[in-house]
């Protein structure tokens, strides 16, 4: 096994070591160590067995799946735990992406300024960009929440579609803000210099040889670690929060507002809190997406495209179950990526029906995915992993205490 393959496998393994412990069944002592070992082993084996081109496909698949996992996690806090019918995921996704982009890019000067207009470009580090994205997305959610969360559930769905559409329209029209309808290019990637020939200034002399043989093409493997780490961290935080009294309060508000209020819970605050927390997670997902794709524009955040697929992920995985939300994201992203092969495989058949059809094969993907959502709604609305109604880790299923 050459050094390049080993390092790539190691990076993939580290990323999987972040993701797999989430997916393994909870409540077992071997969950985390087992997941880490399994992840590292899988990464190395995959790198050894799969040729380079396919390996980068696997890596980019996992990056997008993790970003969608974050979106699904955020939506689960809003919908699964509190029952906010948020059909405007794309809006918060876009806010996060554009905020982080503006915080980290270099403001164009000279001739470039005529082609790229931005409100500001602060050249801040990546993590500052992500943190700002989280904050701004949360603030937008707070502003939206005040008038909108009071509405009845069906009105809330319509209103959030409207919010996402307006956010998209703003990024589409306002040239001064983030280059309007033109894409915003040159979003910096964290620690990309590691993979460039001159290397990073901050890297100690003795370390350089480790990643020496890697080129910028292998950068995505490193970025996968970043995204996977964010996914694991946010999963941990959100899962903790939702298992705490706060999460039980959210469920109480969702299931019976009146009795939650009677037990001294401030229903409005609880609803606003969960909406903002969900939006913060979506904003972080947006930031990670922006730094991954390097160039973003409004069309990436189509009101229904970014929202619709996240809803399918959550519905399939199981609303009210964070593990399910992330599992659903991975499954649906796999299905979505798989349908592109189906669509291209169907091209000869389509060509036999009509000459123009093969060019439209991509729409078959939407057709299949929409049928999938209809199928989930009709036949398994609770999703693959049901919501766990367990109140405490220290209670046995029969209601007795573990300590006896």
């Amino acid at each position: 096994m050459s050094q390049v393959i080993f390092i790539k496998g190691l990076m993939l393994g580290i990323a999987l070591a972040f993701i797999l412990p989430i997916l393994l069944p909870p409540g077992r002592p071997w969950r985390v160590p087992g997941g880490i070992v399994l992840g590292l082993a899988t990464g190395l084996i995959l790198a050894a067995l799969i040729p380079g081109g396919y390996l980068s496909y696997v890596i980019s698949f996992l990056i997008m799946a993790s970003i969608y996992g974050l979106l699904s996690l955020g939506l689960n806090t809003q919908w699964g735990y509190t029952g906010h019918l948020n059909f405007g995921v794309a809006g918060f996704f876009a806010v996060g992406a554009f905020t982080s982009a503006l915080m980290t890019i270099e403001a164009p000067t000279g001739v470039a300024a005529q082609y790229t207009q931005v409100l500001f470009g602060l050249e801040m580090p990546f993590l500052v960009g992500v943190a700002t994205a989280a904050v701004v997305s949360g603030v937008v959610a707070l502003i939206v929440a005040v008038p909108v969360l009071r509405l009845r559930m069906d009105f809330l769905a319509i209103a959030t579609i409207g919010v996402a559409e307006i956010i998209r329209l703003i990024f589409q029209n306002e040239r001064w803000l983030a280059n309007g309808p033109q894409p915003l290019r040159g979003i910096p990637q964290p620690a990309r210099c590691l993979f460039e020939s001159e290397g990073c200034a901050w890297l100690p002399e003795g370390m350089a040889w480790i990643i020496e043989p890697l080129t910028t093409r292998d950068y995505s493997a490193f970025y996968l670690i970043v995204v996977a780490a964010f996914l694991a961290l946010l999963y941990l935080i959100i899962e903790r929060a939702c298992r705490s009294p706060w999460g039980r309060m959210l469920r109480a508000v969702r299931d019976d507002e009146a009795s939650a209020a009677m037990n001294g819970k401030h229903v409005t605050y609880a609803r606003v809190q969960s909406f903002v927390v969900g939006a913060v997670v979506m904003g972080i997902a947006g930031a990670l997406y922006a730094h991954y794709t390097v160039a973003i524009d409004y069309s990436h955040f189509h009101a229904l495209f970014a929202t619709f697929i996240v809803w399918i992920m959550l519905m399939l995985g199981g609303s009210g179950n964070h593990r399910g939300a992330i599992l659903g994201a991975i499954i649906i992203w796999a299905v979505w990526s798989g349908t592109s092969f189906i669509a291209s495989g169907l091209e000869p058949v389509l060509a036999a029906i009509h000459e123009e059809l093969p060019g439209r094969a991509q729409y078959i993907r939407w057709l299949l995915v929409s049928l999938l959502l209809a199928g989930i709604v009709l036949f398994r609305p609770q999703g693959v992993l049901r919501e766990e109604m367990r109140v405490s880790n220290y209670l046995r299923k029969d209601g007795g205490s573990r300590d006896g």
Binding site: G162, V163, L169, N173, L304, V369, S370
Partner: protein, 354 residues
């Protein structure tokens, strides 16, 4: 201070009462109407200030015409929303489907003479009349395949909304597959003369036709709801499906008729929208937000309300273009909708307490 004194409670209770009184005052229809008038007046003011004073009358006229298109789409939506009690997100796709079916039927018919001052001949109306039941049948088929199953299992409203979102995407991708992503026109390259009205307003014959048609359909649907047996059954089903069933109304049949009628009206709205601009697969989605805004603002289930609200939305949409980028149109409709929901969720013509 272990025991709060009565002196301390007194002002608090009064403040509470004042707050309640204020809330009661702002929750009235009058207050909603006044707010909408103030917003419209402000829009005209902004328009005049940004130097579009001379165009404002024309914009108002075009706004009325656009309101006609929105109204045609909203009648079906308000009907389905009223009876089925869930927001049907696939209505936009039904609108698009109607426009495209007409586009396909049109070349099969012999070309008639152009009905001056309109830009189309009899064959266009015939094509529309063919498309309406087709889309109605599609709507009924979707109900049979999806929504009826959900009704049988007594599913939550959310699942209906999700299913309708899925059906919106299903229809949308079908439309993309069959007709492709390109723009189309019913009569490409045909001149569409505008005639001049006083106050320097120019309108096309087609636009007046659309507006008249919106009025006719609204009156027709209202009459249907008011006087026919099926309309009464629809209202009964909307109020309480179980009770309607007990009284011998076949609610499944009523629901099927509602879907059929809603789909047919959606098709009509799509055809008129396609006539006034062009056909593109996203047209229905663009219209979805204004249609929902009109439905909610007018009061769910109320065709007259939908018409009035659609005209208000159309006018504010057009007048707002004098100081805003025209693509912000859906945003204007959205803001009006949220204001309505905050002041009076049952809308302009909705019943109290609902």
């Amino acid at each position: 201070m272990a025991v709060p004194g009565t002196d301390h409670e007194q002002p608090a209770a009064e403040a509470q009462r004042l707050g309640e009184r204020l809330r009661e005052m702002t929750r009235t229809r009058t207050f909603l109407i006044a707010t909408l008038i103030v917003i419209l007046a402000l829009m005209y003011l902004f328009g005049a200030l940004s130097g579009a004073g001379s165009r404002l009358m024309s914009l108002t006229a075009w706004g009325l015409m656009l309101g006609g298109v929105i109204a045609l789409g909203s009648i079906g939506l308000t009907l389905v929303y009223g009876v089925m009690k869930f927001p049907n997100f696939s209505h936009g796709a039904l609108v698009t489907l109607g426009a495209y079916v007409t586009y396909t039927v049109l070349p099969l018919l012999p070309d008639g003479p152009t009905l001056s001052p309109l830009s189309f001949g009899y064959e266009f109306l015939v094509a529309m009349v063919v498309a309406m039941p087709v889309v109605g049948a599609v709507a009924i088929a979707l109900d049979r395949a999806v929504y009826r199953r959900l009704r049988r299992t007594g599913s939550h409203l959310v699942l209906f909304a999700m299913a309708s979102l899925a059906m919106a995407f299903f229809l949308r991708s079908l439309i993309y597959l069959i007709w492709g992503p390109d723009f189309h026109f019913y009569y490409p390259g045909q001149p569409n003369p505008a005639f001049r009205l006083p106050l320097n307003i120019r309108v096309q014959g087609d636009q007046v036709f659309i507006l008249v048609m919106a009025f006719v359909f609204v009156a027709g649907v209202s009459a249907l709801l008011e006087w026919t047996k099926m309309g009464k059954a629809m209202r009964a089903t909307a109020d309480n499906p179980d009770l309607a069933g007990v009284r011998g109304i076949n609610t499944e049949r009523v629901i099927a008729w509602t879907w059929g009628l809603g789909g047919a009206l959606a098709a009509c709205g799509g055809v008129m929208y396609g006539l006034s601009s062009q056909l593109r697969p996203e047209m229905g989605f663009w219209l979805l937000l204004p249609m929902f805004a009109a439905t909610i603002m007018g009061g769910i289930g109320n065709p007259y309300g939908a018409l009035i609200a659609a005209l208000i939305i159309g006018i504010s949409h057009q007048v707002s273009t004098s100081f805003l980028d025209p693509t912000y149109g859906p945003a204007v409709a959205f803001v009006l909708m949220v204001i309505t929901l905050l002041i009076r969720p049952q809308g302009l013509l909705g019943r109290d307490g609902g």
